[in-house]
């Protein structure tokens, strides 16, 4: 550290601080996946296939999560449905005059 540092305003975060932050983020993600049982990916695939029979959705619009709290587990399934297309818009049959 030099004398000049005393006159500088707040310093940018050190590379070590950036390393810590990146690790905390990536590990939080990896740890949450670690406890999930093996069947979750397969369950997600099959749910997606069933929903696709009725609604046309993208592959990444179904999220399956298992959360454990003391005494009970909760299976959370989030399905994001597409916005219903407006009548007369392209892609839906328009009235023929």
């Amino acid at each position: 550290m030099s004398l000049l540092d005393l006159f500088r305003k707040s310093k940018p975060p050190t590379v070590a601080a950036q390393a810590k932050e990146r690790l905390q983020i990536v590990l939080a993600h990896e740890r949450s996946g670690r406890d999930s049982p093996d069947f979750l990916p397969a369950l997600q695939q099959e749910l997606l296939a069933v929903i696709k029979k009725y609604v046309n959705i993208d592959d990444d619009k179904v999220a399956v999560k298992l959360e454990r709290e003391s005494g009970c587990s909760m299976l959370e399934v989030n399905v994001e449905l597409p916005v219903p297309a407006k009548r007369g818009a392209a892609g839906t049959p328009a009235t023929v005059n």
Binding site: L3, T14, A16, A19, K20, R22, L27, E30, R34
Partner: protein
């Protein structure tokens, strides 16, 4: 009752074998009959680090396969009383290890030794799984560096899911963190993760901090566990870690930059 300790890390090249050699020797120096086993089948190196590479006749795999007796494969250290090395095979691969085979040998060793130290290979494949399955204690060797910390976290997850203690619902494997290659100067400059950061992320008890030291390479060149170099800071740090493992309260050393003289500091300021 004999205890099984596994030295593991996930990532390679962080100092597992160096630490196994030093830690096992440290336990023997304190009077505990200790056996260090090399689990890195096909990439044998513990023998070189311990300086007994020319005395290997039979190995761990020979004993598992019933081709040799345990007493024929164990190599007695020439410097330290109570210290034995069980080398591994250089020609076979990890599939030569089986859970039952390893378990049988460990049971046999337990009758004779106080501590059995398993030097794990890198990775989370069969060799590493076999090394940690029977563990009572796990020492996680971590460098203050992102990939090492991430892999340590991963191997902790494996220990908590796939060890015998986890499978059978027994008291969990006792986890200890050993930070190696720590450079206090670079930490001070903000270039390297602080030991506090690593601890906060991994959240397991700290066993020791081994400073980056030229003594480690020097010791490995001549096949001497670095703990025997009691003049070196790395050697002393390993000795301290052994003491803490045995329940002593020892303050961590070598974690602050060495104090520079007035002249050094003056020169650095103006440089």
């Amino acid at each position: 009752m004999a205890k099984i300790i596994t030295m593991t890390s996930g990532k390679g090249g962080v100092g597992k074998t160096t630490s196994s050699a030093a830690f096992g020797t440290g336990l023997a120096l304190r009077g505990f009959k200790t056996c260090i086993i090399d689990f890195d089948v096909g990439l044998r190196n513990l023998d070189l680090i311990m300086g007994c590479e020319r005395r290997v006749v039979f190995d761990f795999i020979n004993v598992i396969n019933g081709e040799a007796r345990l007493s024929q494969a164990l190599i007695k250290d020439k410097r330290v009383e109570n210290l034995y090395i069980l080398p591994t095979s250089q020609t076979r691969d990890k599939d030569a290890l089986t859970q039952e085979g390893v378990g049988k040998i460990l049971d046999e060793l337990k009758k004779e030794f106080d501590y059995i130290l398993c030097d794990s290979p890198a990775g989370i494949e069969k060799g590493a799984l076999m090394a940690l399955y029977w563990a009572d204690h796990a020492i996680i060797v971590t460098n203050p560096e992102v990939s090492s910390v991430r892999d340590s976290d991963r191997i902790l997850g494996v220990i908590q899911a796939k060890s015998r203690r986890a499978e059978q619902g027994l008291e969990p494997v006792k986890e200890h963190l050993l930070v190696t290659r720590y450079d206090p100067d670079r930490v001070e400059k903000g270039e390297m993760l602080k030991v506090e950061d690593v601890l906060e992320i991994l959240a397991i008890p700290l066993l020791g901090i081994i400073p980056e030291s030229p003594a480690v390479l020097k010791a490995s060149n001549v096949g001497m566990p670095v703990v025997l170099d009691d003049k070196s800071n790395a050697g002393q740090a390993y000795g301290d870690a052994v003491g803490r493992f045995l329940g002593e309260t020892i303050e961590h050393r070598f974690i602050k930059p060495e104090k520079k003289g007035f002249l050094d500091r003056l020169l650095r300021r103006t440089a």
